[in-house]
């Protein structure tokens, strides 16, 4: 799970793995690793600390990844436009692995992802989901899609 800080990477992971949600914001340091079972597959989720003003994303955490979920906060448009740069960094470190995009916090007022911003993401050929870790909207869909893409790449 990669993206800018405070976009909801940890919340999405916790919603998917443990079906819990907390409004409290606690910034992730380094990486947290969780495990979930999806069908016959065991998914090991690396919830990587977000990119912020103090430091970029540590690319070492990406080594060995079979797929990536790019996460943005739909109420902060700069986090969505930042995904292109983050993806460049990912590709440089581990190549073009299967990827899906979660535009998170769709439950909030003040959604800032307009048609133009959405078109830019669609142009990359990415599967884009509007998600909410708070009410669970599209959370399973995002992870299931990634698993499907990783499995089809393997086969």
């Amino acid at each position: 799970m990669v993206g800018d800080f405070s976009v909801g990477k940890t919340s999405l992971t916790q919603r998917f793995v443990n079906n819990v949600f907390s409004d409290k914001y606690l910034t992730t340091i380094g990486v947290k690793i969780d495990t979930a079972i999806v069908g016959d597959d065991k998914l090991i989720v690396w919830d990587v600390a977000g990119r912020d003003s103090l430091s970029p994303i540590n690319a070492s955490y990406l080594v060995g990844a079979s797929g990536v979920i790019l996460v943005a906060d739909g109420s902060r448009s700069n986090t969505a436009s930042g995904l292109l740069e983050i993806w460049q960094m990912v590709r440089k470190r581990i190549g073009s692995v299967p990827v899906v995009v979660a535009l998170n916090k769709v439950d909030l007022d003040g959604w800032q992802i307009d048609d133009h911003s959405r078109a830019i993401l669609d142009q990359q050929g990415w599967d884009v989901f509007a998600t909410s870790a708070k009410d669970g909207k599209n959370v399973e869909a995002v992870f299931n899609k990634l698993v499907e893409k990783m499995n089809s790449k393997d086969s």
Partner: protein
């Protein structure tokens, strides 16, 4: 020997101090050796001979050649660890150390920095929203200012528009009064002059009426209350009326006024004549008002049951910008020096739509203006019997009751109808009207709606209950459609709006006379 022991002691102490732990795997990623303290980090299930990725989640995806530093990973025990993968020829050493102190310090710093940045972002968003709200407010203010300007301009225009014909009415009636006073000593103006004064009064009165109609119609625009009622009309007569009304105005300005008709000698069509006249007066009135030199021309063509109207003037023209605005209610160009209500074109456009047409306006600044429209005008086939019907019938045998509480209007009606040979019996309220109709037989009743003691509506209800089928024509000062509908539902024969045209009354009386045998009346 001593050096080796010292080295071992130092290593052991270093291990303890840094709480170092290790996992050693072979080239197939099978665990071959582990430190004793792995369980302090929550790695309890590692055993020699197991696949390392099955026991340690973070090892999945690595091979024996991976060289990597992972500075902060949350271990199963919750302690943040630093992990280093150190490959050698035939094995991989996974070195784990306690990084919780650095993690804690980093956490505090990172948390504050991120929260600050989020606050700054929120602040920028709020400032942006404030700016947008401010711009919207500014826009609303401008709209309000414009509305206020239009209102002021409208009131000024209304005042001017009403004062002009009123000045004419007051002035000319004064002249007639003076001439009547002077007639006793044979001084004063001759009859033709008096007739001219009175015609001026009539024109101004009709102009005033059209202003009132425009104002009232504007109020109805939003509620779709404007209704068209087609009836058989002679187009030649209609255009003659319009010319009589507007030509004197153009004559005073020395502007040529032309009406060119291509409608045949006898063009009787089915159209709401009063609404058509209203539109023509509005359009021609505007053209004459704004043209100071040259001409105003109306061309009318009747073809395939469509009436095409085109009005052209040699006035100052309208700029392209203003051309879009002229249809807006109350809007008037600021610099013409010609006051008005700004309503005429708005209402005209709506009425033409209701008549089944579309108003077109074209103009070039400095080169005059053209206004045109085309509306359906179904022809009416006139038969001999209806020709006989159109010929005035002797009505002096008809017994006619007038119920009207306004004495001035009543006296006027009595005099005007007497001129046509019709004698009116006048009563001043609805109760007296009902009493008169019970004790006498009347062929025709003209009745006001708003009367004391008993209203016109109440009289109609009583007549229905008594099965009295005497034709009752309502005269009402209200143009609200609901009033007409109510009266028609109560069985009135017809419904006229004040000021009532005597010709309309005579026409209705003729219809009644056709259906009633009045020949026996003394």
């Amino acid at each position: 020997m001593v050096e080796v022991n010292l080295q071992q002691q130092i290593n052991a102490q270093l291990f303890d101090k840094l709480q170092l732990a290790y996992i050693c795997v072979d080239s197939s990623m099978i665990v071959v050796d582990i430190s004793d303290n792995l369980s302090s980090y929550g790695y309890n299930d590692i055993s020699i001979g197991a696949k390392v990725e099955d026991c340690v989640d973070f090892m999945f995806g690595f091979d024996a050649q991976t060289q990597l530093d992972l500075p902060m990973i949350e271990s199963p025990s919750g302690i943040t660890i630093a992990v280093s993968l150190l490959p050698s020829d035939s094995s991989l050493m996974v070195l784990i150390s306690n990084a919780s102190n650095q993690a804690e310090q980093r956490q505090l710093l990172q948390q504050k920095a991120n929260e600050n940045e989020l606050l700054v972002e929120r602040q920028e968003k709020l400032l942006h929203q404030l700016e947008q709200a401010s711009q919207q407010l500014e826009f609303k203010n401008q709209q309000l200012e414009e509305a206020s300007r239009l209102q002021t301009s409208f009131l000024s225009g209304v005042s001017h528009e009403f004062r002009t014909p009123l000045t004419s009415i007051i002035g000319y009636t004064n002249l007639v009064e003076q001439s009547l006073k002077s007639s006793a000593d044979k001084k004063g103006c001759d009859p033709e002059q008096k007739a001219g004064h009175l015609r001026a009064v009539q024109r101004s009165s009709r102009h005033l009426l059209s202003l009132v109609e425009n104002l009232l119609d504007h109020g109805k625009l939003d509620s779709d209350e404007i209704v068209v009622r087609p009836k058989e009309i002679d187009l030649v007569e209609l255009f003659q009326d319009v010319e009589l009304l507007l030509k004197p105005l153009s004559d005073t300005k020395h502007v040529e006024f032309n009406i060119n008709l291509d409608i045949g000698d006898s063009a009787v069509v089915l159209i709401d004549d009063s609404r058509l006249k209203q539109c023509l007066i509005n359009i021609l009135g505007n053209a004459v008002k704004f043209t100071d030199h040259g001409s105003v021309s109306l061309t009318a063509e009747l073809l395939d049951e469509f009436l095409s109207i085109r009005v052209e003037d040699t006035g100052p023209g309208i700029s392209a910008d203003d051309l879009e605005k002229i249809r807006l209610p109350f809007w008037q160009a600021a610099d013409t020096g010609k006051a008005g209500t700004g309503l005429g074109l708005t209402i005209t456009e709506r009425i033409i739509e209701l008549l089944g047409g579309k108003l077109e306006v074209s103009s070039v600044l400095g080169e005059g203006t053209q206004v045109s429209f085309q509306i359906p005008a179904p022809m009416v086939v006139t038969h001999e019997s209806s020709k006989a019907f159109n010929s005035p019938q002797p009505l002096s045998n008809m017994a006619v009751l007038l119920a009207e509480d306004d004495h001035d209007i009543a006296d006027l009606m009595v005099m005007m109808m007497a001129d046509r040979g019709v004698h009116l019996t006048h009563v001043e309220n609805g109760a007296l009207a009902l009493e008169a109709m019970r004790s006498n037989t009347f062929d025709f009743v003209l009745m006001d709606i708003h009367m004391p003691i008993m209203t016109g509506h109440e009289v109609l209800v009583a007549l229905q209950q008594e099965n009295n089928s005497t034709p009752v024509v309502i005269m009402s000062a209200s143009t609200v459609e609901a009033g007409r509908v109510k009266a028609e539902n109560l069985g009135c024969y017809d419904y006229l709006i004040k000021p009532v045209d005597v010709d309309d009354v005579i026409e209705i009386m003729n219809q009644v006379a056709m259906n009633t045998d009045i020949s026996h009346r003394p």
